[in-house]
Symmetry: C2
């Protein structure tokens, strides 16, 4: 039986998930591919030896993997920038195919890595970098190949979605839920990447790159997190028939494309409003297929192991059939890739939610609505809520489609009003498409 030999760098949670997957599924992969997928080398500086069930050669040196001529595929699962980047480039230089789950690295140095791989004639698998075990990269590269992708919208971070779900279902404050999630091990000790939207931005940059065939860098993505979301805004969202979700959003305008991550008002009728807990969901609109959504666990040892193993098998099949390079790594031929032109944030058009805090005095509402009117922002609905006698009043408004730059100017004007006691809270809304989506 033919053999595919795999070398793994990084025996942390995801690395162990891959090792277990290849062990558990070895027989199944034989009946599905006719080949034996063997994890033959593992390198990790944190260990001296492997648990008994794994028979791979173990070493502290990644170099031992690159130097082994029998290794076909090198899997990098250490994360972070360095030494992950050097390891990938060294493996590529040695003519190894590579697989990684490293979204942070790919969203910053992806161009360099993919160009090196194309030049060396090796494949790069990165299914596990977005959406855990959901085959979302494969869906974009192959299943939806005959589509212009018109939009990408998704919940791509389980920690942030878990926190928002707990806040929504129980009325808890952000800090309270975060602390609890940390104590239960759902959230990292340093949760910055998750709660500030940075992890989500990594993933959006990768998806946009393959969806549109344009190089998108982490810096292209405008990113806001959820740490300032207040339970009161979640309650007002409910009154408007919405939920607040941390979404990655990209609309493709042909010559330019949106790239943004921020808390978003999602109408309850939209699928993304109903994705709860640590689950992820990614919604594509294609010009041929219409709406497609994938849902699943976006992280975790075994779901991520499933995705890495799928990449390993995919590359293995190409090796076995002599079809290396069968599908371009970034879904488009390297020579057709171009830099992305990103829609300036000020030009964004979407509906908005505003919570304005004012003193309770006649004529205030007219003042506020006057400002919006002068900036061409049309109001769709309004709730006024008193916080008690002699206390401020919340004026909560939802606008129709408005332009971000107008909104920013209007809010600056409103916040400068003498009657305004606190900075206005602004949350962008999901663009509802004409197909009723």
């Amino acid at each position: 039986m033919k053999e595919i030999h795999i070398g793994l760098i990084g025996f942390g949670t995801v690395g162990q998930g891959l090792a277990k997957t290849l062990l558990n599924q070895r027989q199944r992969l034989k009946t599905r591919t006719g080949a034996d997928f063997i994890l033959s080398r593992i390198a990790d500086t944190h260990y001296d030896q492997l648990p008994e069930e794994f028979t791979a050669a173990f070493s502290k040196e990644a170099r031992d993997i690159f130097d082994d001529p029998t290794i076909d595929i090198v899997v990098e699962l250490i994360g972070g920038m360095e030494p992950a980047k050097s390891f990938l480039l060294q493996a590529i230089a040695k003519g190894k195919h590579v697989v990684t789950a490293n979204k942070a690295l790919l969203s910053v140095h992806g161009k360099e890595i993919f160009e090196a791989a194309a030049a060396a004639g090796v494949e790069v698998g990165f299914e596990a970098s977005v959406g855990g075990g959901m085959p979302v990269i494969k869906a974009l590269k192959e299943g939806l190949v005959a589509n212009e992708i018109q939009s990408i919208r998704g919940i791509m971070n389980g920690t942030a979605n878990y926190i928002l779900t707990q806040m929504t279902e129980h009325g808890y404050a952000f800090d309270e839920v975060l602390l609890d999630a940390q104590q239960q091990g759902f959230a990292e000790a340093d949760p910055t990447y998750d709660i500030e939207g940075i992890d989500t931005a990594h993933k959006l940059a990768i998806l946009m790159t393959i969806a549109y065939g344009r190089h998108v860098h982490l810096d292209d993505v405008t990113t806001e997190g959820i740490s300032k979301i207040h339970p009161i805004d979640i309650e007002f969202a409910k009154e408007f028939g919405c939920r607040i979700k941390l979404l990655a959003i990209s609309h493709n305008h042909g010559d330019h494309m949106e790239a943004r991550v921020h808390p978003t008002m999602v109408p309850n009728s939209h699928m993304l409003a109903n994705i709860n807990g640590a689950f992820n969901a990614i919604h594509f609109t294609g010009d041929t297929v219409g709406d497609v959504l994938l849902y699943g666990q976006g992280a975790g040892m075994m779901p991520t192991g499933s995705a890495v193993a799928a990449d390993v098998v995919d590359i293995g099949r190409d090796i076995l059939t002599g079809a290396v390079g069968r599908v371009p790594a970034l879904s488009h031929l390297p020579e057709t890739m171009a830099p992305a032109s990103i829609t300036p944030m000020g030009e964004l058009q979407c509906p908005y939610y505003f919570r304005i805090t004012v003193v309770d005095r006649p004529g205030v509402l007219a003042q506020i609505t006057g400002v919006f009117g002068r900036h061409n922002i049309s109001i769709k609905s309004m709730i006024q809520k008193s916080l008690g006698k002699n206390k401020p009043v919340f004026i909560v408004l939802r606008s129709h489609m408005a332009e971000e730059s107008s909104v920013q100017r209007a809010i600056a004007e409103i916040d400068a009003l003498e009657v305004c006691t606190d900075p206005t809270v602004t949350i962008r809304g999901l663009i509802e498409e004409s197909n009723g989506d």
Copy 2:
């Protein structure tokens, strides 16, 4: 530039969808594959010529396609058993790769067709046979390759789901919604396949075959439709926090596997309860990945065109790289395929819903619950509802997990009671998994 030549048999709705897709996406496919995908021949007995925008050679004879040595891939989109089956076998015999959306044919004659293709060394694409444009076949064959699939559960017929959604949201009767759907063109003149679950059963047989590597035939699937669903049961379902959905369900028990299509009580908290209108969703549980769900339009000219085109490109890539047979058509090597062992319906274990109609008389409830007790059926909750003075009473019960054969015996006994005025309505419930799914 390399060329892939496609011949299309059947220029109906889906055939036109494919033709439009290949025309619209021709440039995009070049930048993604480096090849020109050309629809060069079309055959259909219903037309004399093609609309102007299509430049393919047109004929009434499918044979003209098989006889053209330049054709690489033959796409069959006429549907039904014959002549579709003969056309596919003739194309295979001529060494053509084939693509079909014909679920009815594959769920009955799939074994013969796939064996003929394997013997001839040609590929069979059938992504469009299940789930419209959702890449569900590809997900099972490739994205989830490193998984034992433990369950398949899905809403696979848009017409049935549309009808149930309308009944649920507006309280309409089945016949009323069906007639309206027919008048609007959402439902066929003869809706039997859609409403009686047969179309769903076709799709489940195909998914089970590739998920488990076992040949599953349409006849293996126990099938019940939605034509007897009464609005009152939908209302009671709501009181229990559930929705009634027409689901395809298969649980994999290792040495045997369930294969059933029937109306199902789905708790509101489950994703499948929230799939509304004509949308489809298919939920897999894999031992590595956990839960994954795909959602999208399960039918229609363009979504189906998207799936057929994806198959054409997939096969085209294999031709271009000399990798024909890279992934086994049924996801498992032909020599590892075996007949499926289907769980006898009587051995099914699931929760049940019962609506029992009785005369309003003291002691009746004790009689009913006594029957359930004797058959080891444990009751989880109960609603009793009077229909008015001197009218019958509904006793509505939900059971914990119970065995189908016991349930059938208990219901026969209850329906034979003198106090029982109408046949008992029984609806199976979704099995809630321990992972909180």
